[in-house]
Each structure stands twice: as C-alpha cells, then as structure tokens.
Subunit: 155 residues, 2 copies
Amino acid sequence: MTKSMSSDYSDSHLLRALREACRISGMRLTPQRLEVYRELARSEDHPSAEELHQRLLERMPSLSLDTVYRTLATFARHGLIHKLDTAESQGRFEVADDTHHHLVCSRCKEIMDFHWPGFDQSGVPEEIAHWGRIERKNAVIYGICNKCLKKDRTG
Amino acid sequence: MTKSMSSDYSDSHLLRALREACRISGMRLTPQRLEVYRELARSEDHPSAEELHQRLLERMPSLSLDTVYRTLATFARHGLIHKLDTAESQGRFEVADDTHHHLVCSRCKEIMDFHWPGFDQSGVPEEIAHWGRIERKNAVIYGICNKCLKKDRTG
DNA sequence: TTCGCAGATAGGAATTATTATCAAGAGGTC
DNA sequence: GACCTCTTGATAATAATTCCTATCTGCGAA
Ligand SMILES: [Mn+2]
Ligand SMILES: [Mn+2]
Ligand SMILES: [Zn+2]
Ligand SMILES: [Zn+2]
C-alpha cells in the first residue's frame, strides 16, 4: 500500500473489503486475521511472514508464525493480498489495493511503490494479443536506491 | 532467451560472452559451468536449478545439484544470467541476453518471453526520477494462457 | 610441458522457509 | 448451553538451498 493512501479513511475502506470478503466466502474474521491484515495494511515495506509475526508479537504474544503463514495464504486465495514476485528466499506480501508498480533496490532489496498511470492505460503489444486472457500488467524497475549510493560513497 | 534468438550464431555469441566474463573476472571455465550455461541458453522455459540438473544428468552423470546451484549463483553475480522474480518456491533462471518481458500464466505458471520496444524506449515517471540510479525496467503481464483456458472448457 | 595451487567439485549433512498434522479452542446457531 | 465447524498453536515434516570437507583440476608461471 502506498504512503499517500495510509489514511484512516483508507484503512477503514480496506477493513470494509476484509469484512466483505469474509461475509461472501464464509471465512471467519478472527482476532488473528484482523491483526495480520491491519499490520500488513499499515506496512509500507512489503514485509515477510516472519517480519509481520515479529511486529505482531507485541500486541498478540501467543500468535504463532504458522498462523501468520496460513492467514496470508488464505487472504491471497481470496484476492485480499498479493504475494510479490521476488528473487529472495522469503516471500513478501502487500494488501491488494490500488494498482501500482515497484522499484527494487538490488543492493538492499527494499521495494518501493510508485504509480504510473501512463503505463496502466497503455495496451499490450500485438505480439501477445492471442496468448490467452490477460488480467493485469505490472512494471518493475531495478536500480540502486539513494541510501545505498550514499553508503558506497562515504563507507 | 527467446525462440527467435536460439540460433547457432546466437549460441556462439553467448559462449563468447561467457568466455569473456571468465577472462575478465578470473572465473574458471570448468566443464560443469560450460554445460550449465549451454543448457540454460538452449532452454526456453526459464528452468529451475533442479530442472537444469535433471536435463544435464544424461550428459554429465556425476554433476551434483549443488554445483548447479553454485554455478547459477556465480553466473548471476557476474551478470551472465538472471534469477527471475517469481512467487514460486523454486528459483527460475534465464541467460541475460536481449531485453525482453514476461507473460505469466497464473494457472500453469508457464513464463513466456515477449518483446515490447515501445515500453523499453519509454522513460520512467517523474515520481521516481530522484529515487537513485535506475538500471533496468521490466514488464510482467499476468493472465491465463490459451492451453489452460482450453482445459477449463473441455475438462 | 610440467608444476603448483587457488579455486572448484561431489556428496552428504545442515539450515532456512514453508506446510502438514492434530488436539484443543472458540464463533455462530438453535 | 450443546453442537458443529472452522481456526489456532505446538510440533513434526517437507522442500529448497546452502554449507562442509576431502578431493580434484584449470590455468598461469616456470
Ligand atoms: Mn507494493
Ligand atoms: Mn525470459
Ligand atoms: Zn538500497
Ligand atoms: Zn497456463
């Protein structure tokens, strides 16, 4: 979720989406699920299951890592969150909200969101018009972030 | 590597790139490395380390899976190959050759190459102009491939 | 050519990330 | 409050990748 969207207003619209998905699919809205969802929604760094678990332990000391994994898988199955495509060993997640794209620092692996309406509105090349049913498209931009560039120069 | 590029001419230009990278970096060109590279270069399906190992065992029965993993990591470090970004548990690889983009079937997970010069030549949005040093950008398009759509209808 | 050795390999053991199993716990309904 | 079902936490299991180490080899130097 992008910084500009992290308002209380937005949080409640996400919570409504969660309640709605529960209502439709019969999935129970347990305290664990609510907290996992809220923590992921407030995160801007595309955390892993383990990172989420760490962050949640203060509020829910008995929450098991397995429950975090199971909950994330459940949410992903219902389209509430996305498991990101990365080359890292740990999976990373984000809530499925506005369409956006990713900047990846190949040094520190930080993943930043950005918007690109020009890209979103463009079609797809002729070459792949008959491949099948196209559902969405994303751009990923790789490079070295300013923080890492600065480290290179000073350290 | 894309179909249209899999000619003998192209293979030898890739092998030259490999020899050159070895010369420059002091990396030894062992039979194992040569075979891993050639197998990956001739593959059009973005194989995993394990798939490459299976394919190579006929030619090199003593080749260990660990060597395939180490070799792929070495090649990636030298920029000869790319480890793909995916949400799957196994890593997938391709030789770093012409710039291209990926079509991903969310049903069968097949990854197809396509070209998109219009995208390649476009700049990046103003929003991220000061993020750091940008090195490359890629598009990923998700959907359901024709094969899987057909299965849905008949099966 | 041969030599010497830093760097590479094979194979098994270890580690890391994730998923499965299962007994116990809790929400929703009557 | 009993009952049914879904969910949880603890533990065990699995899958993917990396580490260990004894042995081997590509390749620069002589
Ligand atoms: Mn994001
Ligand atoms: Mn490719
Ligand atoms: Zn960085
Ligand atoms: Zn498919």
